[in-house]
Structure formats: structure tokens, C-alpha cells
């Protein structure tokens, strides 16, 4: 799950990390009032689940409340990488003596969380990693022991190596310890501050914050689940999640309904292989519940770009008769205007085929043939 910058900042602040004050606003008028409250130059930042906001014009500096209001008018409602901006964060424009990057991220290859820091902050850290890897220091965290003080201290000194910046180095070390607490306490797989600045007064402050949350951890973190912003997510994906489906909308025309994530990806790939374009990723999961099939078909057909529906079911735990029942239920309850191709094999295959045959559906038993047929039918 993604959360907004302003939410991540609040989490960091709750863990004792120094974050400048900020106001969330949904209208230009609110932005003006926030800027008046701050009483100084402000930054207005789009709150969307997408990177590259600055380049897209979603981050602006305003000298007066009136200017802030005007700029917010432009930012609110704009689209950044397909995400409509509905909220902005308004905060004081800090004087910046230096910018650093600090982040904690799940390192899959090392099977551990890792802290990364770089004195080259304010830019994309992947770019720094590619062009100037010596400017990054990384330390693995042993989850049994946590981030050691000496690790945090070394990372802090890497950011601020000058003897006269010993205070900033200690601040950064303390911030890293708190960032790891915030990361753990939020079920995060990414928590980064970019930039971490030294301001004119020599204080170390977190200006921007980003956190990604492990969906699997949400069941025990209701306070984090509550940060979910349904407005910032695709309504179809929200509906899919509510129905217990795993769904990702894509740009094509072949609607896919598959059991199992790996098979669903392989089905999309095969659609493409045979010249089609998948309209979605959709995994109905392992359990065979006809209601899920109905919900899946509703989701797929709600996408007006879909011109052909493909079912690819390899029954293991999923029972073919249940899927067939779901298809029958769905086509009973609404008028399917587009062709449907069904591949059904595995557990209770014969029963499933019989149920479908009774309604005039003919099912295929091999994946390749079904995908080819669906692509052809999609035109």
C-alpha cells in the first residue's frame, strides 16, 4: 500500500523525527489560509501516489499567500502519471544548507532490511546508485538486534564527515534509529527521507518523506490501514480488493480471469504472444467461490475497452464446477455483450464442462488454444 507524503511525515513526527510543520489542503482557499498561517514563503506539493512530482510541475514555491493560492489552483486537479491531484501539502520553504538522502528499504536479495544514506540528496537515489555509488553507504539491519548505534553513528558521520558537523552527524544517527522504529511500526518495506536537510540554523530536518507498506502487515496495523486513500487508487482495484480478487488494470482489450498469480501473468504474456493486448491482470485466488467469479466478470466487463473475455482455469484447489457455476450465474445476472472464451481443466473438470454445456458454453482444455481464440475474438 502507498501512503501520501503528508501521512508519512506524520508517522515520522510521531516517532520523534524533526519534520517542519505542514498543512494538507484540498482547495486553493485552504492553501491560502495555510500560507497565511505559516506567514512566510511556502512550498505547495501535490499529494499523489506517483514519483517525479517536481518534474511534472506538482511542486511549487510561493512567496505570498495569494501566489500560493494561485499555484494550488493549477496543481489541484492536474494529472501526474495518471493520478489526479486532489490534495496538496503546504509547508514553510526552508533555507537549505545541504541536502542528504536517508532511507530504509527491504533488500530482497540479502533477505534483510537495509539502511542507505547519501550526502547527495534531493535527487533520485537510483540515479546516484548508478552514477556515483561511492556517494552511498549501505548497512544491513539484523532484525534480531535492530540497527546498532555504531551503525547509525557511522552512517551519520558519512553524511556529515566534517569535525564541525559532529552535531549534525549525531542528529542524523538519531533520526535513522527513529526512522527504523517508524519503518518497523508501520509494516513498511520502504521509508525514505529525501531530502534530509541542514537548514540555515544548522538543524537537521526531514523535508520529504515516502513510505511503502507491506500489504500483508496491514491486518495488525489498523492505524496504518486507516491511512489508505481510496480516492487515490483505481476504483476498480478497490472493488476487486473488497471482493477478494487481485486485479490490476492494463491498457488492452482482452479481459483475463485466471486462478493463480503466476498463471495469470503467463496468460497475459500469451495474449501478447498471440498478438493481443491484455486488459488486466486478474487472479481469482485459490478458493473456488462462484461469487468471486461473478465479481471478476463484472470487473472485467466494466472496462469498456474489453472486447473479449478469457477464462483460464487450472483447477487444483479451485474446482472447475464452481467456476462454471460462477460463469453461469454471472451471465444470468447481466447481459454479456462480448465474446467469452473459457479454458477449464483440472479438478472436477467434467462436472464443470457439463454445467457450461447446458448453457451453450463450449470450453477448451488447453491454454494456448484458448488464448489464441480469445485474441481472435477480440479483433
Amino acid at each position: 500500500m502507498n501512503i501520501h507524503e503528508y501521512q508519512a511525515r506524520a508517522i515520522l513526527r510521531d516517532h520523534g523525527i524533526p519534520v517542519p510543520e505542514g498543512f494538507v489542503a484540498e482547495t486553493p482557499g485552504e492553501v491560502r489560509r495555510a500560507a497565511e498561517e505559516i506567514g512566510a514563503q511556502v512550498v505547495v506539493k501535490a499529494q499523489v501516489h506517483a514519483g517525479g512530482r517536481g518534474k511534472a510541475g506538482g511542486v511549487k514555491l510561493a512567496s505570498t499567500p495569494a501566489e500560493a493560492q494561485e499555484l494550488a489552483g493549477a496543481i489541484l486537479g492536474m494529472e501526474i502519471k495518471g493520478h489526479a491531484v486532489r490534495k496538496v501539502l503546504v509547508g514553510p520553504a526552508e533555507t537549505i544548507a545541504s541536502e542528504a538522502y536517508v532511507g530504509i528499504v527491504l533488500d530482497r536479495a540479502q533477505q534483510a532490511d537495509a539502511v542507505m544514506v547519501s550526502p547527495a540528496g534531493g535527487v533520485d537515489i537510483e540515479e546516484v546508485a548508478a552514477t556515483n555509488p561511492a556517494a552511498i553507504m549501505t548497512r544491513r539491519i539484523d532484525p534480531r538486534y535492530g540497527l546498532f548505534d555504531h551503525q547509525a553513528g557511522e552512517l551519520g558521520r558519512f553524511l556529515y564527515p566534517e569535525a564541525e558537523k559532529a552535531k549534525q552527524a549525531r542528529s542524523a544517527a538519531a533520526i535513522l534509529q527513529k526512522l527504523y522504529e517508524a519503518y518497523l511500526g508501520s509494516g513498511a518495506t520502504l521509508a525514505e527521507i529525501n531530502p534530509l536537510i541542514v537548514n540555515g540554523a544548522g538543524e537537521v530536518l526531514a523535508i520529504d518523506a515516502k513510505m511503502n507498506i507491506d500489504d500483508n502487515a496491514l491486518f495488525r496495523l489498523p492505524q496504518i490501514e486507516a491511512l489508505r486513500d481510496p480516492e487515490a487508487e483505481d476504483p476498480a482495484e478497490t472493488a476487486a480488493r473488497a471482493a477478494g480478487l487481485s486485479y490490476v488494470r492494463l491498457d488492452g482489450n482482452i479481459g483475463c480471469c485466471v486462478n493463480g498469480a503466476g498463471l495469470a501473468m503467463a496468460t497475459m504474456d500469451l495474449v501478447k504472444h498471440y498478438g493481443g493486448e491484455p486488459a488486466n491482470f486478474l487472479d481469482i485466488g485459490g478458493s473456488s467461490n462462484p461469487a468471486k467469479v461473478v465479481a471478476a466478470l463484472e470487473l472485467i466487463t466494466a472496462d469498456s475497452a474489453v472486447s473479449s473475455v478469457l477464462f483460464n482455469i487450472f483447477g487444483g484447489i479451485t474446482r472447475c464446477d464452481d467456476v462454471a457455476r460462477g460463469i453461469v450465474q454471472a451471465t444470468d445476472s447481466f447481459d454479456l455483450q462480448i465474446p467469452i472464451t473459457i479454458r477449464l481443466t483440472g479438478t472436477n473438470q467434467a462436472e464443470g464442462l457439463a454445467i457450461l454445456a447446458r448453457r451453450g458454453f463450449q470450453a477448451l482444455s488447453d491454454m494456448d488454444g484458448a488464448v489464441r481464440a480469445a485474441v481472435e475474438l477480440g479483433g
Binding site: 527491504l106 532484525p143 509494516g187 503466476g262 501473468m265 483440472g346
Partner: protein
């Protein structure tokens, strides 16, 4: 005999009285797996299907039955603890079928397993099967056949698809291992490749990967450096967009990392023939047997 499991596997089913646990316990028993005990806290002293003793704790189950493996069907919030319990009790192999286990739990469980010399398979995996001998997990026993092909995969039904193609093509399997679709899993491709390389019954291996992470690349390097047996590969998710989780928690392209193209290239550079379609796995493997 077998990969991680075999005729000497004495299995505990953790969560045997649950909906999934009971269903699959019966399937495993039906396949011939020695299911020696079930564990459900608070249900100790009963017998599952009048045949398998149920215990409150894994420690009791091990003490009473000499079990050496366990399979976990408990809900996600209890899954890692079930693993800790099994390892504490001396179980050597813990297969976690459960989907939805927090990554942070796995990061703590895996070092515990290492400390105790135990192996975790999964989570979010279909388990293992050695055709004709033993099945631990949920892989359907009816689609496999005995033979020389080792299968290792991050997914479930896609693996069934490939197995089915192989069986229909007359290529039986020495063992099939589903390592799980999560970003952090206990047993890696390399662990399985090493086991297949050392398994006299395996003549060739199919490696079914997908987008996300770099396990396939690490596996490809391992194949090139350490394996004498032929390996063929398949990567799911060539058409997946970046930054979106494709069902599996681990199936996500992060930045430039974890793309299918990168994995396919890594396979090819390391002498692993890559199937374009699942059914081609059978062709490629057949040509190497």
C-alpha cells in the same frame, strides 16, 4: 530419495482442524504421505479422522511421533509463530502454505531457522511433491507422474500447468518444489537447483520464474557455475507493467529491477534455454533428456 522430502518424511500438519488443513491433510494421506500428527492448540488428545493424533503443541507431537517435517496451514497472523514453534521443537523442514505472511515476520523467522539448521519452504507456496512417494502441501497429486524432470517454481497454478504439459508429453517428474511468491522465502531457487544437481533421480530441471527481485538471476549464475544437468526456464510477467504488484507480493518490478527481460537475458547468458510459452517447457526439456 527426493528433494527435501521423501519416504522417510514423517509429517505434522499444523492447523489440521482448520478448513484448509483438514482438506489437504486428507489429500496428503491419500497420496501416501506419512502424516503422523496434527497440531491445533487446545485440541490436543483428539484424533483427526480417527487416525491421526492431534496435539496441543509441536513439541508434544515430535516427542510422541518422531516427526521430522511440518506443513503450516494456519492463518497468516499465526504462520510465523507456527514456524518458530516447529523449529523450536526440532522439526527440520517447515513448509508454510499460508499466503499473506508479513515480510517482517519472515525476516525474523529465517535466521531462527538457520540457527537451528532447519529449512523453511514458502510461505505463500504450494509445497513439494515427489511423485509416487510423498506430497507436502497442496500440489495436485493427479497431474504428476514419476520421471526425470525436476521442477522448481515461484508460483502455484502455473506450476500445475507446466507439470500437466510435461506429464502429457510423457515426461515424468523427480520432484516439484513451489518456493512461493513472496519477496522473502525460506528456500531459494539455488537451494533447489543444488538439491536437484545432487539428486540421482533428476536428469534435467525446469525453473519457472517471474518478475520481481533477482532470484532468477542468482539462480542463472549458479546454473552456469555449478550445474552439470540441463536447466530450462520460463519467466512469467513479460507483459506486466512496472511498479504494480501482480498478485504475488513478490511479483513487482521496482525501478529497473526485476523485469522479465532482465531475467530472460540472464537465463540466456548462462546457458538456460527459455520457453516462450508454458507448453514449450515440455519441448525444451524433452529435447534435453
Amino acid at each position: 530419495m527426493g528433494i527435501f522430502i521423501g519416504g522417510d518424511t514423517k509429517l505434522i500438519v499444523q492447523g489440521i482442524t482448520g478448513r484448509d488443513g483438514s482438506f489437504h491433510a486428507r489429500q496428503m494421506i491419500g497420496y501416501g504421505t506419512q502424516v503422523v500428527a496434527g497440531v491445533t492448540p487446545g485440541r490436543g488428545g483428539k484424533a483427526f479422522d480417527d487416525a491421526v493424533p492431534v496435539f496441543d503443541t509441536v513439541a508434544e507431537a515430535v516427542a510422541e511421533t518422531g516427526a521430522n517435517a511440518s506443513v503450516v496451514y494456519v492463518p497468516a497472523r499465526f504462520a510465523a509463530d507456527a514456524g518458530f514453534e516447529a523449529i523450536s521443537a526440532g522439526v527440520e523442514l517447515v513448509v508454510i502454505i499460508t499466503e499473506g505472511v508479513p515480510v517482517a515476520d519472515m525476516l525474523r523467522l529465517l535466521p531462527y531457522a538457520r540457527e537451528h539448521g532447519a529449512r523453511i519452504v514458502g510461505p505463500n507456496c504450494p509445497g513439494l511433491i515427489v511423485p509416487g512417494v510423498c506430497k507436502v502441501g497442496i500440489l495436485p497429486g493427479n497431474i504428476v507422474a514419476e520421471g526425470p524432470a525436476g521442477i522448481v517454481s515461484r508460483s502455484g497454478t502455473l506450476t500445475y500447468e507446466v507439470i500437466d504439459c510435461l506429464t502429457k508429453a510423457g515426461i515424468g517428474q523427480s520432484a516439484c518444489v513451489g518456493i512461493g511468491g513472496d519477496p522473502i522465502v525460506g528456500t531459494s531457487f539455488v537451494d533447489c537447483l543444488e538439491a536437484f544437481e545432487n539428486d540421482p533421480r533428476t536428469a534435467a530441471v525446469a525453473l519457472i520464474g517471474e518478475i520481481g527481485g533477482t532470484d532468477e538471476q542468482v539462480a542463472a549464475e549458479y546454473v552456469s557455475k555449478h550445474m552439470t544437468k540441463p536447466v530450462v526456464g520460463f519467466i512469467a510477467g513479460r507483459s506486466a507493467p512496472p511498479g504494480r504488484r501482480m498478485g504475488h507480493a513478490g511479483a513487482i518490478i521496482s525501478g529497473a529491477e526485476g523485469t522479465a527481460a532482465e531475467k530472460v537475458r540472464s537465463f540466456q547468458e548462462n546457458g538456460i534455454a527459455v520457453a516462450e510459452r508454458p507448453v514449450e517447457v515440455a519441448d525444451l526439456l524433452g529435447a534435453r533428456l
